[in-house]
């Protein structure tokens, strides 16, 4: 099986945008083709990662719309929905299309248009992924975060401040990301004094509601060399699910989908957590950065909070996490986020991350859907 390369990447400005979903997807798609110097008629497969364009905007059929807008016909196309992990699932689909030999050039575009809805409406669209026994009680994704954070702090004797430090770190990183929704540092007191959203978590423990899009271009490694000398290879990728009903998990502070998807990815890449130089984790809520950093094997269970306290995950630390600013400051346009995570790793590995640049040859992205319900872990390696 030939290795799958990524030869181009793009992301739009994240934040509150005037553009609607079709325009957002086309903007990132076109920029990605330009980045790689690939013509639209070279695209064999075109995947669109998107959770809910029908529910948010009343626009369905977005993959075909994008194929037309980019003049990529007659490319095969499909929409990949895996809620918040649609981008990771799209990365998997794109990798699979090339690895299987079905496609020699696959464009993946992830995007979501959300900010025209009220916070309550957007929260409800996202919460509609829950089981009826959860939904009828008004359970939302932020409330799962509150429930889990309380238990985590209780079980592992972690200080509340450690969660706040995730927000402080990721906001600091976001200052240097020109595409981020928020490019403003926040101090710990601001985080800890912000309004309660899901006790013990407060406003700054949560990512914002965001419009935006991101794209990646995949091809066999032999084709990659026709376009560029510097690219990244998808050396490991794994996807896994956990229970739909969140309370049925034996340990609420462990995300089985993260454990299982990363085991697959590590084995495929013949690497372990100790080999990862930089990682993008799905910090939709600050607590998720702790859970993933532990379930990916970076730190022992219950010790992830100490790494943040000790600066291990700072940009200049031993294992920088969320150099992009994370979902926390970059924003979280649902279908785009998993793609934008891989975008950041690609930029780091191709030494094109500007002021965010760290020294890295191997990077990992972990994209989480629901509250750990579906997860994709992707490992990239630099080829220079």
């Amino acid at each position: 099986m030939e290795r799958v390369a990524i030869i181009g990447a793009s992301m739009t400005q994240f934040g509150q945008r005037d553009a609607w979903i079709r325009e957002l997807l086309a903007e990132a798609g076109q920029a990605c083709l330009d980045d790689a110097g690939v013509a639209p008629d070279a695209i064999d497969h075109l995947y669109v990662s998107n959770m809910a364009s029908g529910e948010f905007e009343g626009q369905t059929g977005v993959p075909n719309a994008l194929a037309h807008d980019l003049a990529a016909m007659p490319a095969y196309t499909a929409r990949i929905d895996q809620t918040s992990s649609s981008g990771g699932a799209g990365t998997y689909a794109a990798w699979q299309s090339v690895a299987s030999g079905a496609s020699e050039m696959t464009l993946l575009v992830g995007g979501e248009k959300m900010t025209h809805r009220t916070t309550a409406e957007s929260t409800d669209v996202i919460a509609s992924l829950t089981h009826p026994v959860e939904y009828k009680h008004g359970v939302t994704l932020p409330s799962f975060a509150g429930l889990t954070a309380r238990l985590y702090l209780h079980e592992y004797d972690a200080p509340r401040e450690s969660l706040g430090k995730v927000a402080v770190k990721n906001h600091k990183n976001g200052v240097d990301n020109p595409h981020a929704q928020f490019r403003k540092e926040v101090d710990l007191d601001t985080v800890l004094d912000s309004p309660v959203v899901a006790d013990p978590l407060r406003l700054y423990d949560f990512c914002p509601i965001t419009d935006g899009s991101a794209a990646l271009l995949f091809c066999p490694e032999s084709v990659a060399r026709e376009y560029t000398d510097e690219y990244a290879v998808v050396s490991g990728i794994g996807g896994a699910t956990d229970t739909h009903v969140v309370h049925e998990r034996a340990d609420p502070t462990t995300m089985g989908g993260v454990v299982n998807s990363s085991e697959i990815a590590y084995e495929m890449a013949d690497l372990g957590p100790e080999d990862i130089d930089v990682a993008e984790l799905h910090d939709m809520f600050t607590i998720l950065e702790f859970l993933q950093s532990e379930d990916l094997g970076f730190f022992e269970k219950g010790e992830g909070w100490k790494a943040v306290e000790d600066g291990v995950t700072d940009r200049d630390g031993e294992l920088p996490i969320n150099t992009s600013g994370g979902l926390k400051s970059k924003g979280h346009p649902l279908g785009a986020s998993g793609v934008a995570q891989v975008y950041e790793i690609y930029k780091q590995l191709t030494r094109d991350a500007g002021d965010r640049q760290v020294d890295a040859d191997v990077g990992l992205a972990c994209n989480v859907g629901g509250f750990g319900n579906c997860v994709t872990t992707t490992i990239l390696e630099a080829e220079r």
Partner: protein
């Protein structure tokens, strides 16, 4: 006001051949087989595993909305559930004992995105055991 279990619908959980119980019931259980019987959790008390008070609630949901994950002990077999706390001002903590109390409508079925006819809207909240 009447909330005696006999007059209200059951809080239905499923027991499987290997003894495990899930709430809600699933067509196939953790043992890979169909359930063998139904258990009514409203007849049992539970312990609070964790709780939160959500202040950013979706359309049709009370605000604030206090929620808990609780663990029932059904004759030695643990089974967990999630539900609203009866009091909107949290009156429980991790490890406290609670009992289910029936509510005919947990949120306004007409306000949210979920199709009204697709699911039930009644269920059980939890309150501290006196």
């Amino acid at each position: 006001m009447s909330d005696t279990p006999t007059e209200n619908p059951p809080m239905k959980a499923a027991r499987y051949a290997d003894g495990s119980i899930t709430y809600p019931p699933h067509p196939i259980g953790p043992d890979g087989k169909e359930p063998v019987e139904t258990v009514d959790l409203s007849e049992y008390t539970a312990t609070v595993v964790t709780w939160t008070t959500s202040t950013a609630t979706p359309p049709g949901v009370r605000e604030p909305n206090s929620l808990a994950i609780v663990e029932f002990d059904v004759d030695g077999e643990p089974v967990r559930a999630i539900g609203q706390l009866e009091s909107q001002d949290t009156d429980v903590d991790i490890g406290d004992d609670v009992e289910p109390v029936y509510a005919a409508e947990l949120r306004d079925p007409d306000a949210g995105i979920r199709e009204k006819e697709s699911q039930a809207w009644d269920g059980y909240r939890f309150r501290p055991v006196e």
